[in-house]
């Protein structure tokens, strides 16, 4: 870890003003990813602005039935919140499937969204990585790529976003609130993360001086029947090979509302619009589920190490929808 200057911001205004004036500064939330990356010399900020004293720790009901979640809400608190558990169970499940209890006690909502890829070559300073060292190449493409993506990948980068929480938020039509010295703006969560293209070092739509202050969930009746299914190499404390966040409403055997998002397959939490389009209005049958899953994965491109993800993602979508159909009819 390199030496750095530590600052603590008392309010949002100071935090965004400080970050705007420091060319190589980072916000520090729970530190569960940033500090690791600093220890590995992958992140080398000159200034670290601690934002954990900012008043962004509330979870509040919004008029109209939505929920506003402060960016500094700890993951464990989010997962335990009664409204989250009953109105958006997929979100509580996703959070609880991530990391460990200790990490969830530290990690924040905003930091979770901005965590960086777990690609082995991104983590190794001796390897070529266009994300870490733009223009150096991508050692993962012909290397160990078990955890690499299959959707929206490019010749420059095949890394995945590791968050579980973000996958649930993508399925729930979440909106991210962002603040800077220029003011406040809002963007859909599905537009926060960017696909790699030829600039994999640019990971989000945020400017360097913007701070995530909150995430808002709209009122979403379908979310009451929702699930998160994470598939991984051991029972706990492993990143997703593939994950599915889904919500579905079925009336008279027909899908009347549905949300599906995928994790572990792309540089962003992957909202499965194509699958949703096929499912909406279709009979809630195995056949429809299979068709929707196949259509979503049709554009997938894999490496030898992660070819299985294309099949696994489809199977996991089908299994999750099947389960939601059963749960929904029981409710």
């Amino acid at each position: 870890m390199r030496s750095f200057t530590y600052l603590s911001a008392p309010d949002v205004e100071t935090a965004v003003r400080t970050i705007a004036t420091e060319p190589n500064a980072k916000f520090l939330g729970g530190g569960t990813n940033l500090v690791d990356l600093m220890r590995e010399d992958i992140e080398q900020p000159d200034v670290v602005v601690d934002i954990t004293r900012l008043p962004l720790t509330g979870i509040e009901d919004l008029p109209g039935g939505g929920l506003r979640i402060g960016a500094l809400v700890r993951n464990s608190r989010l997962a335990a919140h009664a409204s989250v558990r009953t109105r958006y169970p997929v979100l509580a499940q996703a959070v609880l499937n991530g990391a460990s209890a200790q990490l969830r006690n530290m990690a924040t909502v905003g930091g979770n969204l901005l965590q960086r890829t777990r690609c082995l070559y991104f983590y190794d300073g001796a390897a070529a990585c266009n994300k870490r060292a733009p223009g150096s190449g991508c050692a993962a493409i012909d290397g160990f790529a078990r955890n690499a993506g299959v959707l929206g990948v490019s010749d420059h980068c095949i890394a995945t976003h590791p968050s579980d929480m973000a996958v649930a938020l993508a399925a729930l039509d979440a909106v991210v609130e962002v603040e800077s010295t220029r003011g406040v703006r809002r963007l859909p969560l599905t537009e926060l993360h960017l696909l790699p293209g030829s600039t994999p070092q640019v990971e989000t739509a945020l400017a360097a001086d913007e701070l995530i202050t909150a995430v808002e969930l709209p009122a979403l009746p379908v979310a009451a029947n929702s699930r998160y299914r994470k598939v991984r190499d051991r029972a706990s404390y492993a990143f997703a090979l593939v994950s599915v966040a889904a919500a579905m409403e079925v009336e008279d055997g027909v899908v009347t509302d549905v949300r599906v998002a995928l994790g572990g397959v792309s540089a962003k939490p992957w909202r499965a619009h194509e699958a949703e389009r096929i499912l909406l209005g279709a009979p809630a049958t195995e056949e429809s589920f299979l068709r929707a899953a196949a259509a979503e994965l049709a554009p997938a491109a894999a490496r030898p190490d992660n070819t299985f993800k294309i099949e696994l993602a489809q199977r996991t979508i089908v299994a999750t929808l099947r389960r939601l159909r059963t749960d929904g009819s029981a409710a």
Partner: protein, 739 residues
């Protein structure tokens, strides 16, 4: 020391009882000190810089930025490091010559022999400064061609030469001809990847020189080897080196030899004139300590339609490093487990430009039993015989390869007890025939097997007039419960209460103990300890006779005689005495080898659940029943066996060191990316043993450190086959192989 257990409240023998470990309180309260926890005055901290190429020369090394970091004391490279003497040649008469992890002259050469080799050491006032500065050292290399891809180089493997302690090949009859003629035959190929030990305590050394005298606190499995090796490398008499290692946070073989960290800590202390602590990062452990070799294995079986084996062929390819490492006895169990008329085993080796491999829990048998036992299970299906019944039909009366007598063999009884406890009779043999809700359920068995060994150990025992007993022996407590077991043995041998015995260990100033390896430490020390207790009792008897106090308690005899204490010693630690001891050991070893086949064995039973949608495998039940002779401490022995099974579950389902075949660089040197099992992966594990003494071993005990991991991957592979109908030939059994 706890005295609250009922086990110690009642009088009578304590051997066999589940007594709490004597070091338990020290460990749970944090009082036990590990190698990186000794606060020496003026202590400096060291950090390593690792090479990023697998073979070549250092042409330039930039240390200015590192040296400029506040607090940095020295940046040591091959250009300014103190000299180091070369690693010793291996001699069968001095087993400590086996201690070199590699043959490299660290920081005394510009040559690079593996990706990760230490090429510089930064010493600083604080650990943070040392690590920051290490990241600022720049190294320029001239790379040379290297071979690092095991899968590609495997075809160039050469037959392994046989040594006194390990044969490279063995045969009985003509196995290939018998295979060709067999009514039923199979010929299978298996692979296993590189593994790492991942002890919870990363390797650490605290080293301090006082003139020509060196004291090191080192997390080692082998106190005497560290002492001898450091003395040799630094050109000082062995008597000048003191090694202190009472507690070691796990080793599993990874702390059996002397790796660069230990040597470089002492080198840095010598160069800077300050005590130096070098605590490896987890990445540092992967880059500078060898792991388990990968393997490819062929198992071919020929049998009659009744499943009786006529041919058993097991061959392997493993790798070593160009600068060290050794063969691995992958085919060892295949000479002993089945009564085939014709047997052929052969081990082959290929040298690569990678960090040398080293021993890891049951080197050889852990991965060898996977291939053999999966093949036996496959044969059971081919001939339509229950897998346990098939094994019983092939259970030998004498050692199959050479007809030697078994010193002890209760595999039949282990299977019988295990099957009863596990409920094997409820299993329906058809693959895919058992379900629990959406889960596919599978049950599998496999045999466990590990040879039993015994080395020489020096021990002293002193009985004092206050009735206390002091046992002294320089072993280390690595979690196995060695001090507790030896105290139990001494208590019974001398007829004193367990609480009266204190064991002093963990220091090279004590009588020399063999290291922890090969599951032989407890038996080796017990052998000498029992002899020392007999000597002591003879002295006591003589005293009693003289003072007319025969029949009194040991303490009363001393009091009557007016003697404060008596002491007996076994083994000599003088140079001549050690040589004589080694010779004696070799003679006994060879004699035993001719006469007996000595081993631990057991039966592993497991149940797995496989998700039919995703291929995820979860182990849901486990029972292991072991033939390990007499059990000294039912609690610590069970822990060891259970720990072996946990490690085996990791090997079967998740563990794999990713060595990039393009560069030879380990790409997952972290516990986040190298997956050992988490608690949620481990079911309740039932451990049983037959507790029948082996008449050829001291007290009838057989070591339990390694046999627990053997057979585990085989049992899981067999259960997965039972659940899904798919036989997996390549570890780990990850879900993609089951889709």
């Amino acid at each position: 020391m706890t005295t609250t257990l009922p086990a110690t409240e009642t009088a009578g023998p304590v051997v066999g009882r589940p007594i709490d470990r004597v070091d338990g309180t020290a460990k749970t309260t944090g009082a036990a000190r590990f190698s990186a926890e000794y606060p020496l005055p003026d202590l400096a901290h060291a950090a390593l810089v690792h090479s990023t190429i697998s073979r070549g020369r250092i042409t330039a090394i930039g240390t200015e930025a590192a040296a400029a970091v506040p607090g940095v004391v020295a940046v040591l490279t091959h250009l300014n490091a103190p000299p180091l003497k070369p690693a010793p040649k291996v001699s069968p008469l001095d087993l400590s010559t086996l201690a070199s992890g590699t043959s490299v002259d660290y920081l005394n050469t510009d040559e690079v022999h593996w990706d990760g080799q230490p090429v510089a050491v930064v010493v600083a006032d604080t650990l943070d400064a040392a690590r920051e500065a290490a990241g600022l050292v720049t190294v320029t290399y001239e790379t040379r061609p290297s071979t690092v891809d095991f899968a590609a180089e495997e075809k160039n493997a050469k037959p392994q030469k046989s040594t006194l302690i390990m044969s490279g090949a063995a045969k009985k009859g003509d196995a290939e001809a018998a295979l060709a003629a067999a009514p039923v035959s199979l010929d299978l190929r298996f692979t296993t990847p590189t593994h790492h030990h991942n002890a919870i305590e990363p390797h650490a050394t605290t080293a301090a020189w006082d003139g020509d005298r060196l004291t090191v606190h080192d997390g080692t499995q082998s106190i005497d080897w560290v002492r001898t090796h450091l003395a040799l490398r630094f050109g000082v008499p062995a008597a000048n080196v003191r090694v202190i290692a009472p507690f070691v946070g796990g080793g599993f073989g990874g702390k059996g030899m002397v790796w660069p960290g230990t040597i470089l800590a002492a080198l840095a202390a010598r160069a800077t004139g300050r005590p130096v602590r070098l605590m490896l990062t987890r990445e540092g452990v992967y880059r500078t300590v060898g792991g388990r070799t990968p393997s490819t294995q062929r198992v071919a079986l020929g049998a009659g339609t009744d499943g009786r084996l006529t041919a058993l062929i097991h061959t392997s390819v493993t790798r070593t490093g160009r600068v060290g490492g050794g063969p691995e006895q992958v085919t060892s169990q295949s000479k002993h487990l089945y009564a085939a008329e014709n047997i052929l085993v052969r081990q082959n080796l290929v040298e690569l430009d990678l960090i040398p491999n080293t021993s890891m829990r049951a080197p050889g048998e852990s991965i060898g039993t996977y291939a053999l036992e999966a093949s036996i299970d496959e044969l059971a299906y081919r001939v339509g015989v229950d897998p346990i019944e098939l094994r019983m039909r092939n259970e030998p009366a004498v050692n199959p390869i050479d007809g030697k007598k078994f010193a002890h063999r209760m595999l039949r009884e282990a299977y019988a007890q295990g099957a009863e406890r596990f409920g094997w009779a409820d299993r329906t043999p058809e693959p895919g025939s058992m379900r629990d809700g959406r889960w596919l359920v599978g049950m599998g068995v496999a045999s466990a097997y590990h040879p039993s060994w015994q080395f020489t150990a020096s021990v002293t025992v002193r009985l004092s007039v206050d009735g206390t007993v002091l046992v002294r022996c320089g072993f280390q407590e690595m979690g196995m419960g060695g001090a507790t077991a030896q105290a139990q043995i001494a208590a019974d041998a001398l007829g004193v209460p367990f609480e009266a015995v204190r064991v002093e260990y963990g220091d090279s100033t004590l009588p020399v103990s063999p290291g922890a390896g090969g599951s032989m430490q407890t038996a080796s020390i017990a052998n000498s300890l029992l002899a020392a207790c007999e000597k002591l009792k003879r002295e006591l008897a003589a005293l009693a006779k003289r003072s007319g106090s025969a029949g009194l308690s040991p303490a009363a005899i001393l009091a009557e005689a007016g003697v404060p204490s008596v002491e007996a010693a076994v083994g000599s630690d003088t140079r001549f005495g050690r040589k004589a001891g080694q010779l004696k050991f070799m003679a006994k070893f060879v004699r035993d080898q001719r006469r007996w086949m000595k081993a631990a064995c057991g039966a592993q039973f497991c149940e797995v659940r496989v998700d039919p949608d995703t291929g995820e495998v979860r182990v849901s039940r486990w029972v292991g029943v072991f033939d390990v002779g007499r059990v000294i401490n039912a609690k610590t022995a069970s822990s060891q066996l259970r720990g072996g099974i946990v490690m085996g579950i990791g090997m079967a389902l998740a563990e794999e060191t990713l060595v990039d075949p393009r560069t030879g660089r380990i790409m997952n040197p972290s516990l986040a990316e190298y997956h050992v099992p988490v608690h949620a992966d481990i079911p309740p594990i039932g451990v049983g043993y037959l507790d029948d003494p082996d008449p050829t071993m001291p007290l009838g005990l057989i070591g339990v450190g390694e046999v627990g991991i053997t057979g585990v991957a085989g049992a899981i592979a067999n259960a997965v086959h039972h659940a899904t109908g798919k036989r997996i030939y390549d570890l780990p059994i990850t879900l993609d192989k089951l889709l």
